[in-house]
Amino acid sequence: MTFDLSSLTVTGIREGLAAREFSAVELAESAYARIDALDADVHAFNSLSRDLASEAARAVDALVAAGGELPPLAGVPVAFKDNMNLRGTTTTCSSRILEGYRSVYDCTAVRRMLDAGALPVGKCNMDEFAFGSSTENSAFGPTHNPWDLDRVPGGSSGGSAAAIAAGEVVLSLGSDTGGSIRQPGALTGTVAMKPTYGRVSRYGCVAFASSLDQIGPFSKTVEECAQTMNVICGKDPMDATSLERPAEDFTAGLRGGVKGLRVGIVRDLLDLEGCDPRVRRSVLDAADTLAGLGAEVGDVDLPSTQYGLPAYYIIGPAEASSNLARFDGIRYGHRAKDADDVLDLYLRSRAEGFGPESIRRIMIGTYALSAGYYDAYYGQAQKVRTLIIRDFERAFADFDVLLTPTSPTTAFKIGEKAADPVSMYLSDVYTIPVNLAGIPAVSVPCGSVDGLPVGLQIMGSHFAESTILRAAYAVEQACGFDPVPPLVKALAGGRGTTAS
């Protein structure tokens, strides 16, 4: 039996397994065959976990053989951002300071995926400690965009996004602090969701900014995004910020249509200087599509979001500088050689272990929190956060969902923005306000410009994931974006994508 992993969905895998068209072991093998064929060029993965994947695959095949009920993600090859712990793997955050770090417990979201029958193929490259928007800040080299290998996949969850676009796995998880799931989703033509803050446990995901971080899925289709949400959401006693909510089936309302849905185009964000006019056009076309399907489309402004980027570049680094204080060379991680004393050990271990962007953010955060500057920076940024939340509350009184581009441009060239941190930060101008407000948002492909995908960001109020997924599904079905890049299509016609 031959099959092409990039054309298989979660549902297709489930049906294929039940019908004995292929086995879970073959699915795992096909994921590794694709990685062998492509990952030297794409570099989506930091490490592979072949033993864990085969063990999980054999368990699924045993279940199939016994005629048992298959769990929701049975046999689905998946990958995890390399900041999520899983026993039996290394968790490096793409940093020298954690190179070789062996996980001693499991991240809750990862555990839920595996308990649902998923096959853990490997851990994905990222910007070091999730600091970045291009995956160029990885200590282990950049990830390349499968749509154009000279371009970035976005970041910081660039490896998780590229692994989906390259058809190396069917689902992956990333983490999103200021856009780190949605922006790479947009740049790689994948469906990428940041859930409401507190929907998904953060336990076992190495912390960047604890009041902003949230884990979420990447997939090729909106339905698979909803299926993954069904698995990863829920209260976890190990994360006090995870929320108790009634169980919800995110797939139930997907096909409900958008008739009467109140859709707001965020006009002041759309009109920002720096937004590629073709990206803008693509978003407006998607809004027209929704109107054509019966949605009530109007305009709205979010005036305080213009301060989102500066507020984020205080709050994010401030929380990060505190979270990254734990990397001290004592209990784990890189330790400088021949230290004179403990202070020397700290100073040198950290300076040697952290890359340039991590050092930059630790410095900004430490400065913003230091005596005499706290009120002017951190205190002020927290007040701006309140203003942004009020803007969203006003907008959601009139609209069910809000639209912006996910990112102002399509995928940029590797190296293009690396020397200019401020220009790189602008890549997240549309995604950051969502984290500051703690609301959910999804990026769904809505077209392409010069062969590169464009992402539409659909935002909703707290816990409105089902509503934004319903809108995303309508856009996906209407615009007919083909999520398989030419590179992968060429391969699918040749070697490396078939099992047995």
């Binding site: 301060y307 570049y313 202070l343 100073l347 400065y367 002020q380 940024a381 309140t386």
Partner: protein, 95 residues
């Protein structure tokens, strides 16, 4: 608010980062570029606006105070750069 070289060195010490002179120089420039963006919000009059620390209001979440197994000693030491007799080994305090 421009940040001076002396401040960069002070902040680096607070953050326990042993930077080279070259790093201190380049970080001075980079931090000033970033803080220039941030000064947009320092200038706002936000008197009377409550700060937000968390976007989703949850307070005092507790669980039953029940003793349960934590990390084993072997797991805790699994990644130790240096260890001796079941403990982390560190250099002496104070030079």
């Amino acid at each position: 608010m421009a940040i001076s070289e002396q401040q960069v060195r002070h902040v680096a010490m607070l953050a326990r980062l042993g930077l080279t002179d070259e790093q201190v120089a380049s970080l001075g420039t980079e931090l000033n570029d970033i803080l220039a963006q941030v000064d947009k919000i320092s200038a706002l009059d936000l008197t009377g606006v409550e700060p937000t620390a968390h976007a989703v209001p949850v307070t005092n979440v507790t669980r039953p105070d029940v003793v349960r197994p934590g990390l084993s000693r072997d797991d805790a030491l699994l990644n130790a750069p240096e260890q001796q007799d079941g403990a982390f080994l560190i250099p002496k305090f104070g030079a």
